[in-house]
């Protein structure tokens, strides 16, 4: 660990990516994540890396696909409307089993929406952003420290499972300044993986990076194999944080910026004698189903706090197999609930019981 520095969330992502060994960044300007690109534009030329402002989000993700095809780490960053454009490329990355990082600093939608914070791309991210059967790893930071830590983890897991990873942040997290301990630089890149397109060197049969398979039987098998890999990730990679859950009767479920708001509300509720705690998913895919299911036998109800119309409530209901009621506290369109609003919902849940 390096010494503590004060950084903006978006800049922490950029620096952490460089420290993780990423030397190729492709992006297109969009609020509220432009600091990632600006940071890369300054830094990459000085360390022999690539910063390229692409002609579009579509081009940027396909440049990422090109670098990923050579086995090297690459990334792009954008915000919700730009992520929609990247979905085609993300599907191709998934179909060709390529690791890469896509940062989504979410803003309100749909359409052009607004430029204020949102979590309304939860479904887009967790259901596989693009056509076809696939998933991407989805990590949801709730501090600038996690912006840095999860960027590194995203690259590591993307490589491990040969799948794209999405860092799902929001405008608040991106703009927020906090002290952060950056990780030490990763070891220099080892030699190219054996599947990479780096030239045959006239020493082997050609590698083909590809998502096309015209034989239905073979394509089916490829999908099944991919899902076997996903099953391992679902077993081994869910990450979450529990807060005051030991004796909780109400379980708040929240990620990212709303988890921070919820934490304050929970502290206030505890002062009023309400037994409430929180499970904060750090990975949204794979979703931390096990701790939620376990909590379902302990608590009377769940309360999802998020910046969308309740997208995560579906995953919570599935995780707890609808054993307990799942409420929702949400603001959308760029609005963020205050701790008082969350507290009011906790109090209401407490009155209603199970």
């Amino acid at each position: 660990m390096q010494e503590k520095v004060l950084m903006k969330g978006n800049e922490a992502i950029a620096e952490a990516a460089i420290l993780a060994g990423c030397r190729h960044y492709f992006g297109y300007p969009i609020t509220p994540q432009t600091e990632v690109a600006a940071y890369m534009a300054k830094k990459m030329p000085k360390i022999g890396g690539t910063f390229l402002q692409a002609e579009s989000e579509i081009a940027a993700i396909n440049m990422v696909y090109g670098v990923a095809s050579t086995g090297k780490l690459s990334m792009t960053s954008s915000s919700s409307p730009g992520i929609s454009l990247k979905c085609e490329g993300i599907s191709y990355l998934a179909g060709a089993d390529l690791p890469a990082l896509i940062v989504n600093v979410q803003r309100g939608g749909p359409g052009l929406g607004g430029i204020q914070p949102s979590q309304s791309d939860y479904f887009l991210a967790t259901r596989g952003p693009g056509h076809g059967d696939f998933h991407v790893l989805v990590l949801a930071p709730a501090s600038v420290q996690e912006m840095a830590d999860l960027t590194g983890l995203a690259f590591k897991l993307a490589r491990k499972y040969r799948m794209p990873a999405m860092l799902l942040a929001d405008g608040t997290m991106g703009q927020m300044m906090e002290p952060v301990c950056l990780p030490d630089p990763a070891e220099a890149e080892e030699k190219a993986p054996d599947w990479a397109a780096v030239g045959t060197g006239c020493a082997r049969v050609h590698n083909i990076i590809n998502s096309l398979e015209l034989s239905p039987a073979v394509l089916e098998q490829k999908n099944i194999e991919r899902y076997e890999r996903y099953a391992i990730a679902e077993k081994e990679e869910p990450r979450w944080e529990e807060f005051m859950m030991e004796d909780a009767e109400i379980c708040v479920v929240s990620y990212g910026i709303t988890a921070r708001v919820s934490r304050n509300a929970i502290v206030e509720a505890r002062k009023k004698g309400i037994k409430v705690g929180m499970i904060r998913p750090i990975t949204l895919w794979p979703f931390p189903k096990a701790p939620l299911l376990k909590a379902a036998d302990q608590v009377k109800s769940f309360l999802c706090v998020e910046l969308n119309m309740g997208q995560m409530t579906e995953d919570v209901e599935l995780a707890i197999r609808c054993k307990k009621p799942v409420g929702l506290c949400s603001r959308v369109g760029g609005m963020i609930p205050t701790p008082a609003e969350v507290l009011a919902k906790i109090e209401k849940a407490n009155e209603e019981g199970g």
């Binding site: 002609e55 579009s56 440049m63 397109a197």
Partner: protein, 247 residues
């Protein structure tokens, strides 16, 4: 006896899926001959498009990447930036390069990205069964221009070499065809130059190959080659539209 002509080593043994008389096969061979002659097979990375030549990745013996529709130049950009010492080429048809991927084509050319683009212009979407392409000729009957391409509603053909020649960056832009022995030889020279330029770090090189599609044009293979002379070349004149080496 010595062999004066045989299949180049940079083609695999896979059998081309192309229709009888389709000139994709000729252009594939010219690219492979070029790779052989320049001795770059081991460090070449090709990008295949979506369209009739989608399976090009099976035919070239070098490492290959299959891109999404139209995005091959963006993929090539990523590969070249990551592997600047490798030789990177895209092989794209007219729907891929001049329609859905036009933005990537123009932007990659405008950046002067040091890659080689082989562009097959046969004025039609072949793989999907013969729809109107951005390069279809005025009056040309296709599945989606059944009464002939009408400029009032369907616009005019896009001339890629002329379009890209308005940009400062490209190093080499040439239009060739492969409809007879002499023209195939000229096409080979242009393709070789486009690869040589990349080796020398000269920047973006594109060779537009005016090609035939006998199946979807509804002609015999030989008639289709004659149609190139009669109809295609007046719209798409052969020539070198940019050559920074010569300027």
């Amino acid at each position: 006896m010595t062999t004066v002509f045989d299949k180049p080593k940079s083609l695999t043994d896979a059998v081309f899926h192309y229709c009888p008389g389709c000139t994709h096969g000729i252009v594939h061979r010219l690219v492979a001959e070029t790779i052989d002659e320049l001795g770059i097979e081991g460090k070449t990375i090709g990008i295949a498009p979506v369209g009739c030549s989608v399976l090009a990745y099976n035919y070239f013996a070098c490492d290959m990447i299959e891109a999404s529709h139209g995005r091959a130049p963006a993929v090539a950009t990523g590969v070249k930036r990551a592997m600047p010492d490798n030789i990177v080429f895209t092989y794209q048809g007219d729907g891929d390069l001049a329609s859905i991927g036009l933005c990537e084509t123009v932007s990659t050319a405008a950046r002067g990205e040091n890659v080689t683009v082989i562009f097959i212009n046969n004025a039609i979407y072949g793989m999907t069964g013969g729809q109107m392409a951005p390069t279809s000729l005025l009056g040309q009957v296709t599945q989606t221009s059944p009464y002939g391409r009408d400029p009032k509603t369907q616009g005019y053909p896009i001339k890629i070499c002329e379009l890209l020649a308005t940009l400062d960056a490209p190093a080499y832009l040439a239009r060739v065809t492969v409809n007879n022995v002499k023209n195939v030889r000229n096409a080979k020279k242009a393709i070789k130059k486009a690869f040589q330029n990349q080796i020398e770090g000269k920047g973006f090189s594109l060779v537009e190959v005016v090609s035939s599609c006998p199946t979807n044009w509804g002609m015999t293979p030989q008639k289709a080659l004659e149609w190139i002379d009669e109809k295609m070349l007046p719209q798409y004149p052969l020539g070198v539209y940019r050559d920074k080496g010569e300027e």
